[in-house]
C-alpha cells in the first residue's frame, strides 16, 4: 500500500515537472513570436526614479510638460536610500531588468556608482553642453572625461538665521555676512547668553557640517584623484575639527538624533541658526508662525587663505542608464534641464528648486523677493553664491570615511589629541579602502 502511494506521488511530481517545463517553453515561443511587447526592444515608456514629490519629482513633472515631443513618461517615487539599494542590487546582479531609464543620484554618492558599474550608465555629452552648468557640479558627475550626470539642483549652503534672536543679541545681517566659523562661534556665545536659545542643532553621527566647512576651502576627505585618503595633514579638516569641538564646548548645540528632531529644533524656535543646504528652506517655511523672522546670510568660511563664504551640501544630478531607450531619455533631459531657460524660471516659481544651469540665473523669477524671509531675494543670493563654490572631487568613499571620522571625532571630544585622532583616522581609512 505504502509502495503504491510512493509510486503515485512520484508520478504526480513527474507530471508537475513536465507541466512547468512545457509552460515555460510555450510562453517563450509566444513572446518570441509577438516581439513587440518585448521590453528589450522598444520601450514605449521612459521611467525615472526620484525621491521628493515636492522637489525633484515636481521638477521632472514640469520638465515633462515643457517638453515638446510626445513621450510616455513615468516618474516613480522612491526614498533616496531605497534608490541606492535598488540600484546596487539591480546593477550588481548584472541584469538590467527593472532598472529605470533616468535616475536621480546625490552628487556625493555618484562616483561610487559610476566607478563600480562602468558600463551601466550612458554618457550624455552629445545632448548637453557641460560648460553651461556650475563648475563644481561637473567633477562628481563625470568620469574619464565623459559627462554622465545632468547637473540638477545645487546644494549651495546658506546660514539661515532667526533675525529676532540675533537682533536681541545685538547682531544684524551685516554682522553675519562673510564671517569665519570662529566669529560664528563668538556670536553663538552671545546669542546663547542673551536669549538662552541654542545656536545650532547637530546630529553627532552626521558630520555634514564638517563637509560644508572643508569644501569652502576646496578640500575633501580624499585628494583630487578621488581615491588617495587625505585626512592627516589636511589643514581645512583640522580647522573644521577644532571648530566642531569649540561649538560643542561653547554649549550652544542642541543635539538631534534624526531628521525629524533636526526639523523640530528650528520649527519649535529652539535654535537661532541653521547652516545648511538651500533645500532646508522649505522645512523652515513650514512653520508659518515664524514668517518674517528668518533671513539667510552667506555660510561662514574657515579662517585660512583660499577659503570662501560658499559651500555645498547635498545636491543631486540625473543619470541615464545604458539600457534601451537611453537616447530618448538623454534627449528628454537635454531639451529640458539642458537648455530650456524658461523651464528654469518655472522651476523657481513653482517648486522653489534652484538648478545649476548658469544661463538661467538672469531670469526674472530669480530676482523675486521671498516674504517669509523678510522680502530677501533668496534665489538671487543663492545663485550668486553658487558661482563661488569651490570644486572638489568627492571620490567614492565619502560616507565610509565619514563613519571613521565620526568615531575619531568622539575620541577627540573626549580629550584625544587632534594629531592622534587624524592620524588614526587616516590609517583606518587607508586600511579599509585598500
Amino acid at each position: 500500500m505504502k509502495e503504491f502511494q510512493w509510486k503515485k506521488s512520484r508520478l504526480f511530481a513527474f507530471a508537475l515537472l513536465t507541466l512547468i517545463v512545457l509552460a515555460a517553453c510555450s510562453s517563450d515561443e509566444e513572446s518570441g513570436a509577438s516581439g513587440e511587447g518585448d521590453p528589450e526592444e522598444d520601450p514605449d515608456t521612459i521611467t525615472a526614479w526620484a525621491w521628493d514629490p515636492n522637489f525633484n519629482i515636481a521638477a521632472l513633472e514640469i520638465a515633462e510638460e515643457s517638453y515638446d515631443e510626445d513621450i510616455d513618461f513615468e516618474i516613480i517615487e522612491n526614498a533616496q536610500d531605497d534608490i541606492v539599494s535598488k540600484l546596487n542590487t539591480g546593477l550588481s546582479s548584472g541584469t538590467m531588468k527593472g532598472m529605470p531609464n533616468i535616475v536621480l543620484i546625490e552628487d556625493q554618492r555618484a562616483q561610487s556608482f559610476l566607478q563600480s558599474y562602468p558600463d551601466a550608465f550612458f554618457p550624455i555629452d552629445d545632448y548637453i553642453n557641460p560648460d553651461d552648468f556650475a563648475a563644481y557640479k561637473l567633477a562628481p558627475t563625470s568620469l574619464d572625461d565623459k559627462q554622465y550626470g545632468l547637473p540638477f539642483d545645487t546644494g549651495v549652503t546658506g546660514l539661515f538665521f532667526r533675525t529676532d534672536y540675533l537682533e536681541e543679541a545685538g547682531y544684524s545681517m551685516e554682522d553675519l555676512t562673510d564671517i569665519t566659523w570662529e566669529e560664528y562661534i563668538e556670536i553663538g556665545r552671545d546669542v546663547n547668553e542673551t536669549t538662552g536659545k541654542d545656536m545650532i542643532s547637530l546630529d553627532p553621527n552626521d558630520l555634514g557640517i564638517l563637509r560644508v566647512m572643508i569644501q569652502s576651502a576646496g578640500e575633501w576627505y580624499v585628494d583630487e584623484d578621488g581615491t588617495t585618503v587625505n585626512i592627516e595633514g589636511n589643514e581645512p579638516l583640522r580647522k573644521a575639527f577644532e571648530n566642531y569641538k569649540a561649538m560643542m564646548e561653547a554649549d550652544f548645540v542642541k543635539a538631534n538624533s534624526d531628521w525629524s528632531q533636526f526639523i523640530s529644533a528650528f520649527n519649535s524656535g529652539d535654535v537661532a541658526t541653521v547652516p545648511s543646504g538651500n533645500w532646508i528652506g522649505a522645512s523652515i517655511e513650514a512653520e508659518e508662525s515664524q514668517a518674517g523672522d528668518w533671513a539667510v546670510a552667506p555660510i561662514p568660511r574657515l579662517d585660512m587663505e583660499g577659503a570662501v563664504n560658499a559651500s555645498n551640501q547635498g545636491g543631486s544630478s540625473f543619470y541615464v542608464l545604458n539600457i534601451p531607450g537611453k537616447e530618448k531619455a538623454a534627449e528628454f533631459l537635454g531639451k529640458t534641464f539642458g537648455e530650456n531657460e524658461e523651464f528654469y524660471q518655472e522651476l523657481v516659481n513653482d517648486v522653489g528648486a534652484l538648478g545649476t544651469y548658469t544661463p538661467a540665473s538672469d531670469g526674472e523669477a530669480y530676482q523675486a523677493g521671498n516674504d517669509f524671509f523678510g522680502g530677501q531675494s533668496l534665489i538671487s543670493d543663492f545663485s550668486t553664491w553658487v558661482e563661488d563654490i569651490p570644486s572638489v572631487n568627492y571620490g567614492m568613499h565619502t560616507y565610509s570615511i565619514e563613519d571613521i571620522l565620526a568615531a575619531e571625532m568622539q575620541n577627540y571630544l573626549k580629550g584625544k589629541s587632534l594629531d592622534d585622532a587624524l592620524a588614526d583616522a587616516q590609517a583606518q581609512a587607508e586600511a579599509q579602502l585598500k
Partner: protein
C-alpha cells in the same frame, strides 16, 4: 506583606505595559496632529485627522498598496503553511536514512542573511523576466516565491509534530487513508493551534517585509504598504502627520489577524516550546 508584594508587582506591570503601549498611543495621537506638532512631540490629540487622511489618499495610492500587501501576505501565508507543515510532518513521521543530517543542513540555511542571497535571486528573476508570464522582476509572484520556503517554519512544524500522536497515523493507514489523506484529514485538523500560530507569524513577516519587495517591485501599481510608507518619508520636508496616519492604517490588518487568532497563537507557541 504579601499584599505589599502584590502591589509592587502591579506597579511594575503597569509601568511595563505603559512603556510597551506608549509608541502605539503616540502613533494614534500623532495621526490627528499636523507635521510640525508631531516633530515637537505633542501628546494631545489634535484636529488634523481628516486633513491627514485626505492628503494621504490624495497623494499616494494607499488602496492599491493595501490590496497588493493583502494579496502577497495571504498567498505567502497559505503557501508557507502548506509547504512548511508538509515538510515538518515528513521529517518527523517518516523514516528516511540521513534525514537528521539533511534537517541540520536545512537549519544551517537559517544562518545565511537574506542580503547575501538577494543579488543572485534578483539575477534569477531577471533571467525569467519576459520569458515566463507573471514571473520575473516587478511581479507579485517574485515578491512571494522566495519567502514561502523557510527553514524556520519547517523547524516550527517539526517541533510541534513531536506532540502529535503517531498512533493516529497508524490508525489512518489501517482505515485505508492515503498518506496525503492522513495529512489533510487527520494531522491538519488536530494541529489547528500550530497552524494558527504559524499563520500569524507568516502573515506578519510578509506584511512587514521590506527589503526584498523593495528591490524586486518597481512600478507603483505593485507597491506594498512598507514601501509606500518609506516613500512618504522620502522628501526633504516629510509630513509626519500623514506618515503616522499611514502607519496606523498599515498596522490595523496585523493587529486584526493577531486579535482573531490570539488564543490559538499562545497555545501554538506553548506547544512549540514543550516539544
Amino acid at each position: 506583606m504579601r499584599k505589599l508584594k502584590r502591589i509592587g508587582v502591579y506597579i511594575f506591570l503597569s509601568i511595563a505595559s505603559l512603556v510597551s503601549i506608549f509608541p502605539f498611543l503616540w502613533m494614534i495621537v500623532s495621526m490627528t496632529n499636523k507635521s510640525v506638532d508631531v516633530t515637537q512631540g505633542r501628546l494631545l490629540p489634535g484636529s488634523y485627522l481628516f486633513e491627514n487622511l485626505t492628503v494621504l489618499f490624495d497623494s499616494v495610492n494607499m488602496v492599491t498598496a493595501l490590496v497588493n500587501s493583502t494579496i502577497i501576505a495571504l498567498i505567502t501565508t497559505f503557501l508557507t503553511l502548506l509547504i512548511g507543515s508538509l515538510a515538518g510532518y515528513g521529517f518527523e513521521i517518516y523514516r528516511t536514512p540521513g534525514k537528521d543530517r539533511i534537517f541540520n543542513i536545512l537549519l544551517l540555511s537559517m544562518m545565511i542573511p537574506f542580503a547575501a542571497i538577494m543579488i543572485p535571486l534578483y539575477r534569477m528573476f531577471g533571467g525569467v523576466s519576459g520569458t515566463i508570464p507573471f514571473l520575473g522582476i516587478d511581479t507579485l509572484a517574485a515578491a512571494i516565491l522566495p519567502t514561502v520556503i523557510t527553514a524556520f517554519f519547517i523547524f516550527f512544524f517539526r517541533q510541534n509534530t513531536k506532540m502529535f500522536a503517531k498512533e493516529l497515523v497508524e490508525a489512518g493507514r489501517i482505515d485505508g487513508l492515503s498518506e496525503l489523506g492522513i495529512f489533510f484529514r487527520v494531522y491538519l485538523p488536530t494541529m489547528k493551534t500550530t497552524y494558527a500560530a504559524a499563520a500569524i507569524i507568516a502573515f506578519m513577516n510578509s506584511w512587514n517585509n521590506y527589503l526584498w519587495p523593495l528591490v524586486v517591485l518597481q512600478s507603483p501599481e505593485n507597491q506594498t504598504i512598507p514601501l509606500l510608507i518609506s516613500n512618504l518619508g522620502a522628501g526633504y520636508s516629510p509630513d509626519y502627520g500623514v506618515i503616522m496616519t499611514a502607519i496606523v492604517i498599515a498596522t490595523l490588518p496585523t493587529a486584526l489577524v493577531f486579535f482573531i487568532m490570539q488564543r490559538h497563537f499562545v497555545e501554538g507557541m506553548m506547544g512549540s516550546m514543550k516539544g
